[in-house]
Amino acid sequence: MLGSGLIHGLAVTAKNFVGSFHDPARYTTVEYPEVKPKVPENYRNFPFLVTENATDPMGTLRCVACQICEKECPPQCIYIEKSKDKKPDATGKLQLYPAVFDIDTSVCMSCQICVEVCPFDAIKMDQVFEIATVDRFSELLLDREQLAKPNTYYHAIHPTEAAEVDSRLAAEWKAAEEKAKVAAAAKAAAAAKPAPATAGTPVATPQPPATPRVEAPKPPAPAA
């Protein structure tokens, strides 16, 4: 009958109208900026540097200024200057640290290659998108202090990734500790035995810890 389709259409719009008051499926607007949208866990924007704790960010950066991310970055937006001295890292080993670590976010294309190649899980992708500024040159170039964020923050934005990284790092440190203990015990045993026989021989130069921190080729971080 002429008009039956019209009546059906009217019923559909009426259902939508009434439903928009009580049914969330029929009212999908997120009233930004009063209500922030929930971003998916795998959402990424620009990188940030992970620090072990928030109280001493510059002292606990995981980054050792190996400059791999700087060389791998396609638009070359990372600028790193190594430090002159060394600081002990989480396992106590002395490492370099970045004296200058700048990322130009006006150039960065969020490809996360820097995250994929970092051997130390030091740089990860952040999720902040409200970064509009009025000065492109001074405010979009982020330096070390602005990029450093604690591991707790990393857990907050990428829980699954952070949990995986933490468990892997903890396992490695544990393995490193075990090896160090075994080596120290062996060394102590070796030093104790030939000590009376070779008292006159020149003492061997103190060697660095026989077990450097394990650098197994990391699988690509399970991001994206």
Partner: protein, 409 residues
Amino acid sequence: MTTAATTDGILERAPQLLRDAVTGFLPAPWQWLANSLIGIAVVLGVFGLLFAFLTLAERKILGRVQNRPGPNRAPLPFLNIRSYGLAQPFADGVKSLTKEDVVPREADRVLHFLAPVALLAFSILTFAVIPFGRHLVLVELDAAVLYFFAAGAATELAVFMAGWASHNKYALLAAMRALAQLISYELPLLLSWVPVVMIAGTLSTTAIVDAQAGWTLGFIPQWHVLTPWGFCGFVIFMVAALAEANRSPFDLPEAESELIAGHLTEYSGFKYALFFMAEYFGMIALSGMAITLFLGGWRAPLPFLEFIPSFVWFGLKLGALLLGFIWLRATFPRLRMDQLTRFAWKFLVPLSLINLATTAVWSLSAGWSGPLQLVRWAVCLALVVVPFLALGRTLSAGVAPRTYRYAPS
């Protein structure tokens, strides 16, 4: 305005009493002038505000139908309180007033200025004969209905003036199309109220409302819409009113994708707002006339509800019709020019002519007694429904129901 009878309630007489309190001290000849001016000011004020909030209601309702909130951010000025969008119409008014008024260099300046003015003037003129309440009609004319549609017909001239004065061939083309639409739908519009005049025996709006008094069986109002010919006439009137007001689904003349904005292309700022004001006033006036002709005007639907003042009933009915217009806009896609004109000439005009014949049958059989009344109803219903189905079938001949290959059913 007519004088109130003392038997009416205090609420009913409130407008009269207010007006007399204000002008009672004037000498007699000036009182008529003052009363008229007050009436005009009240109509302009009330319907101006109604226009403003109608635009807001439309946007909010359209938004809710489309799963979004509609405007809800315009804050009250100087207070910065978001008021669910209630300040939006005033924000729009300020915006349209402060926008630059661009007139093309080659345009006919006089006509370019006159077109929205003429359109608005004729649209507002139509409010003069609508009875808003028992004693609330601005002018009581013997040929009121004809006056209403004469003033409405004169608005078409302003559409042409707008298209011509823009010195833009697309605007002119669109103005011609708009005129074609308006002329095509004049005929069903006028033919749909001729049955009402036939039954009521008068062209005066107040008398037509009086002809719809009383209740059959004590609770069914004797409104014209509750008769077979009246229902058909009401539906035809509403469809033609949609087209006359350039309202979706007949908004081809002013759609943004149609030749830019049709005849309104070269208008900006306040003149553009005036065009939309005229369109909304036309919508409100046509709804008011539909209420007067078919829905019993200011009459209450049930006898025990008569304590509610008549202008409140008119307002409720007007609100219902306007919400219906908005609902139709939210639902239906736009009609193409040829679909539009075909619908008018091949469907509405024959249907309204047959409706006229049905009304004649109804009128002549008014004196039938008892069970023959059922026969009368059956005959008139058949005379309305059968042509509707037949015409609908011929109009959609060759058009099969649409099947979708990929949509989940």
